[in-house]
């Protein structure tokens, strides 16, 4: 039944409004980039709000693995000096 090879997979990112970040919405299969965009439009943009779409070949995405989560992200917890509350400001001064 599958006379042609399966179409490549593309990840779809939707920007809901101008200036907002693009967010992952899902994926589509399509033979080429134009069709990927067209399928993404038909599949993930039938209703507002959509301002722009990105499609990215799924194989181009490099993701961190779940098993590396602690090693990669836990150290951030100890770095209190990355947060404004770490730094002292004289009493009565507002702003910084």
């Amino acid at each position: 039944m599958s006379e042609t090879a399966e179409w490549p997979l593309w990840e779809v990112f939707v920007q809901a409004k101008e200036g907002a970040a693009h967010q992952h919405a899902g994926s589509v299969r399509a033979a080429d980039r134009e069709l990927a965009l067209q399928h993404a439009r038909d599949t993930y943009a039938r209703r507002p709000p959509v301002f722009s779409l990105w499609v990215v070949p799924s194989e181009a995405i490099v993701a961190s693995a779940g098993r590396d989560r602690e090693e990669l992200f836990d150290p951030a917890d100890d770095k209190v000096y990355r947060h404004p509350q770490f730094y002292r400001v004289p009493r009565g001064v507002r702003g910084p």
Binding site: W7, G26, R46
Partner: protein
């Protein structure tokens, strides 16, 4: 990671993502459930598609067209989410076309009148929303996210169906009868959509333990009953259920006994339209082969030129 650690993650309400370790059985159950769900969306387009050209007004026609298009889209969200578990869309579609995959038994019933389109939207989509709303909280991330997207769109389908039934119910005597007859056809299928009673459901325990299901079949069915009975009363439509009654103590609308033998027969493929549905899918797939070939050839040529 082992089963105990995995279950601790579920217990903690964490979302399981495609690259995370998961028990083989969790993966299998999800593939089974999600692909059946995807197939149901796709096959669900057929009984309704039948009525697009015969919709009674332009308002009804645009509504139905967009509903059927949404269902195609829902099928795609779900195939894409299922693919994250390591099966390919081609495999899933082939299983549907060769008859080995299951899909919702609902779509093996015929839609003999326009009122069926109303009754399906109101009762079948209405029942599906109850199930799907529960799944927006399921433990598998891609399934959960697809469900959130689907639920947002599905509400319009149920309202569309209820409006169709309401309009007929308030029309001429013939129209009222059409509405009632369609509801007579779809009430029981809608109740079976939630699956077997909790005591007889062989998959439920496991699905609940793994946070795929957050409520039992009977709880969901009850929730549905409490929503639709007042809706029926509001428009003077009756459900074909002599056992239907209001339970004063719990404040619930109770249904009478469900004929599970009928449900199993239809699910096993002896529903009135089983063969037609699969035939229609097969010919759609075969008739579309040239489009797939042309798209692949075009991209191959572009690559060749670019090289």
């Amino acid at each position: 990671m082992d089963d105990t650690q995995f279950e601790a993650r579920i217990e903690a309400g964490e979302s399981i993502e495609p690259k995370d370790w998961m028990p083989e059985r969790y993966r299998k159950q999800l593939i089974r459930m999600m692909s059946q769900h995807a197939h149901s969306e796709v096959v669900g387009m057929l009984p309704e598609g039948n009525w697009i050209t015969r919709a009674p007004s332009l308002r009804r026609k645009i509504g139905l067209l967009s509903k059927v298009q949404d269902e195609g889209g829902h099928g795609l969200y779900l195939y894409a989410a299922t693919e994250t578990l390591g099966v390919s869309r081609d495999e899933l579609i082939e299983a549907l076309l060769d008859g080995s995959a299951k899909y919702s038994a609902m779509f093996n019933y015929p839609t003999p009148s326009w009122a069926d389109i109303g009754a399906i939207g109101w009762l079948i989509d209405g029942a599906a929303i109850v199930n799907q709303t529960m799944l927006t909280d399921c433990s598998y991330g891609p399934y959960k996210r697809a469900m959130i997207r689907i639920c947002k769109e599905e509400n319009a389908h149920q309202r569309q169906g209820y409006e169709i039934v309401t309009t007929l119910a308030r029309g001429t005597e013939t129209q009222r009868r059409m509405a009632q007859e369609a509801v007579d056809r779809w009430y029981w299928p809608a109740l079976t959509l939630f699956g077997p009673h909790d005591a007889d459901s062989k998959n439920s325990d496991e699905l609940t333990r793994w946070g795929i299901k957050r409520k039992s079949n009977d709880e969901l069915r009850q929730w549905f009953m409490n929503r639709v009975v007042p809706q029926a009363k509001a428009i003077g439509i009756e459900f074909p259920d002599p056992g239907l009654h209001y339970d004063e103590t719990s404040g619930d609308w109770r249904h009478g006994p469900i004929d599970w033998d009928e449900f199993r027969r239809v699910l096993a493929g002896s529903g009135p339209c089983n063969r037609d549905r699969i035939e229609a899918r097969r010919s759609a797939h075969e008739d579309g082969a040239w489009v797939r070939e042309a798209a692949a050839a075009y991209e191959a040529k572009r690559r060749e030129r670019a090289a």
